[in-house]
């Protein structure tokens, strides 16, 4: 599979481990990524309320992707939302399209934009992905956290259920890690309030930690650099503000997949996460794998028959 790749600003900065693990996992899974040339910022959450500017900035990247003739994959939920929304507007809103085509002096034909999670779960498929796994991640008890723009609004991102998504659940299960039920999976981390209303952002993120701990998780798995910024990057600040100890590693789903593929910790940049991942990694394989439900049933039936 060949895809054009838009990393977005965070993957070349605070989310560098997401970029590294994305590249490592895609390489191992046979997905060839070509980074689009001279891409720009999509406007992120800061332009999201200025609809035309947000879509205009994003559209320039779509023009760049169009030149490759490939589908475009994006690991960041915010970039993915913005570029998809821009593509939709370029196809349906002729006045907007005219403005951007004038600004860039080119004609737009459209590009197929997908979030990386969509590509992994639906185009590659968890079963194919699992054939690349070399070890079971039993010992990891994870809750999947989807947040907002990865799955909403469903008119923009259509690949999963907006109220009860399961893509990350499926990946966690495939790696042999335990996937725990998480009532907060689609709740807001407060990312967009981090700079302007930090106390609210921290309360929102703290609620996610409380629920993850109550579920018995030893790790949270995410697919968005903004979610990761709040849950991992700000965890120390939240501990200070709420006078508590959280100590919860937060992995990108690509880091989790990479571990199951047997890729190196350096390659997955597990040392770049702000909350140490070493205790979590030491747990891998220390627990007996939970027996497969069907196998367990057969074993019980066989035992019962033998006893008769």
């Amino acid at each position: 599979m060949k895809l054009a790749y838009y990393p977005g600003c965070t993957l070349h900065g605070t989310a560098r481990e997401y970029d590294a693990s994305t590249k490592a996992v895609c390489k191992a899974a046979g997905i060839e990524l070509t980074e689009i040339d001279d891409w720009n910022c999509c406007g992120a959450l800061e332009a999201i309320f200025d609809k035309e500017l947000s879509m205009g900035l994003s559209a320039r990247n779509n023009f760049k992707a169009q030149k490759t003739g490939l589908d475009l994959v994006i690991p960041c939920s915010i970039c993915s939302h913005n570029l998809s929304r821009a593509d939709k507007a370029m196809k349906t809103d002729s006045a907007f399209r005219a403005k951007i085509e004038k600004a860039l002096g080119e004609k737009y034909t459209g590009v197929n934009i997908k979030h990386l999670l969509d590509v992994v779960v639906n185009d590659l498929g968890t079963e194919t992905l699992a054939t690349k796994f070399t070890k079971s991640l039993n010992g990891i008890k994870a809750v999947p956290y989807y947040g907002c723009l990865l799955i909403r609004p469903s008119e923009v991102c259509k690949f999963d259920n907006p109220e009860n998504p399961t893509s990350l659940d499926d990946i966690i299960k495939a790696t042999g890690a335990e996937c725990l039920p998480f009532t907060q999976k689609t709740k807001c981390c407060g990312g967009n309030l981090l700079m302007s209303k930090q106390d609210y952002a921290f309360i929102l993120t703290k609620k996610l930690f409380d629920e993850a701990k109550a579920a018995g998780a030893n790790c949270i798995v995410v697919a968005c650099p903004m979610c990761h910024m709040l849950l991992d990057g700000q965890q120390g600040m939240i501990e200070k503000a709420h006078n508590t100890k959280i100590d919860m590693p937060v992995l990108y789903f690509t880091q989790l997949i990479g571990l199951a593929m047997g890729l190196g910790e350096k390659e997955l940049e597990l040392d770049k996460n702000m909350v140490s991942t070493s205790k979590l990694i030491a747990l891998i394989g220390k627990e007996k794998p939970a027996p497969n439900k069907v196998e367990a049933k057969i074993a019980t039936a066989v035992e019962a028959e033998a006893a008769q």
């Binding site: 720009n40 332009a47 609809k51 900035l57 700079m195 600040m237």
Partner: protein, 188 residues
Amino acid sequence: MIKSSDLDPDFKYEISKEPGGENIKKCFNCTGCTVGCPVTEIDKTYNPRMILRKAILGMRKEVLSDESLWLCASCYICYERCPQDVKITEVIGAIRAIAQREAKAGKIKLDNPKPLFDHLFIDSVKKNGKWYEAGVSGTFMLMTKGIGGALGYAPMGFELWKKGKLSILPHTIKGKGEIKRIFEEVEK
């Protein structure tokens, strides 16, 4: 007490002309937006249904100068669940755009620092093509929290820098002229 003489019946049309505000008149005030809102959950004074209701009634000045206009976290839960397809997140954006223009013209005062951060962020994208994290965050902290407050973030900035996650200098692109032209076209 609401006096009908203070209402601006054209406010809803003004909003519906802003990009994103088109569907405001579809709202039938069912409160679905508010019951699912994660911000309302922690602050009962934030009530998106009330913002929409007031806007439709024409309470222009009250809506535009209300601090709670800046509390939406753009999580799109209300947008997803709205039975009338009001596109609430985008309507809030349209109202914010009007509020920012009014503030620029000196007609209202905005106390929330959100517009300042967004402005600094967008300005850095306009200049470089990519957002300049260290510069924008540093300037914002200095402007809103003073030197003491900004220094409080220095240890975290240093940790990020040590891990190679924060660049001191801005990243720039070659196509800055194209970015400039996009700004010119959408701001027309």
